[in-house]
Symmetry: C2
DNA sequence: TAGATTGTTAATCGATTAACAATC
DNA sequence: TAGATTGTTAATCGATTAACAATC
């Protein structure tokens, strides 16, 4: 067995992209693909594609290329998508409600098991087939449903305390939509979606070319 | 005047983060900050922070540091936030509607001037103070309101044609939420928010430490 | 003046790309 | 076998970090 070096963040971030393209290829009935083919489709360099797969041991056959389905399944396994991740949404505003409906539609192995807020006017409302509950019930929900991920969609000024709270309840990953920086630590990993930051970058790019 | 090298994407992506932190400092009444202070707050290396500002000419004073307000204003200007960007939302599903409400709340100089769909059941509904309109009206809206940005929140299978359409209407930047890769070209810049990709990365990180 | 901190160049580090032997 | 394409090492490139002279 091959010595396991730490896989860089850059490589990880490309995996979902491969995954999507391979799914498309399968749907088109294509069973075989070379790094050069994938390069044309994804816009990535073929050497880079081979390097990426090589990180995990290499899934191809010399002189042939890659078998689409088995490559798809390998990446699926690496990303942990062969099991379901349960998640809760903390903050039932616009964004939280939209995610509660959006995630199940994508059918990618992520299940929303609860959505929480403190605002009494929201409590009890149904979003899809789940009900907005008071944040007091969050800990219970996490423990009963084996929840790994908390999506944080609260206003910025509550975000830090909400993050501390879900960490205390034993959450392993935070999908953060609030405009604050959260520090990773050995117990919790963070993925930030800074929507407005992204809009600002877009604005910059528009203005500068 | 200093020779202008192309600013790297990595630098641009850090600017909104600085912007946010400087805004916080202003709100706290702090008028002066050093790269070392900023480093502690942002988690970035102080050399990197100075390098980043140096790209744009350097905004500090040796022996003193940076004046919070003037640094804030410089970054504001670089990001083009001293003017308003008008944007339209293409796709009035969960995500599109949520963005239509979310963006104005953030008060960062982005104005939603229209939201469009093809689904007749959605047409006419009010989201905040704007009405969902048929996609046929999109071109007209873009021309009348000097629209720079289109947020793409349509289902994946319509995304490519929707992108081509807004490009044809003269849009300068696409904020893409669909799970496809769009190619930049000299006329159009792209910012992708691949929500599910980000969830997958979070899943990977959770499973691997 | 002495101390602090930037502006700026140089060194380091890591990620991307190129090259090619291995091998199907 | 000849052709194709990977696995794998080496070279290149760019981004991050370190160092320190300039200067407030």
């Amino acid at each position: 067995m091959k010595y396991e070096r730490k896989i860089s963040e850059a490589v990880i971030k490309r995996l979902p992209r491969y995954y999507r393209f391979l799914e498309d290829l399968m749907n088109m009935g294509i069973s075989r693909v070379s790094s050069k083919d994938l390069s044309v489709r994804t816009g990535l360099n073929p050497s880079q594609i081979r390097q990426d797969f090589y990180c995990f041991g290499g899934f191809g056959l010399q002189g042939y290329g890659y078998d689409v389905e088995s490559l798809f399944n390998e990446i699926k396994k690496i990303l942990g998508l062969d099991t379901t991740y349960n998640l809760v949404i903390v903050g039932a505003g616009n964004l939280g409600q939209a995610l509660a409906k959006h995630i199940p539609q994508q059918k990618k192995g992520f299940k929303v098991v609860g959505i929480f807020d403190v605002k009494s006017s929201l409590l009890g409302a149904k979003i899809g087939d789940i009900e907005i509950m008071h944040i007091d019930k969050l800990g219970e929900c996490i423990r009963e449903n084996n929840v790994d991920i908390a999506a944080l969609t609260v206003p910025g000024n509550y975000a830090r305390e909400a993050a501390e709270m879900v960490i205390k309840q034993g959450i392993k990953g935070i999908w953060n939509f609030a405009p604050i920086e959260l520090k990773e630590n050995p117990d919790v990993v963070i993925e930030n979606i800074h929507l407005i930051d992204s809009l600002m970058v877009l604005g910059y790019k528009i203005s500068n070319k």
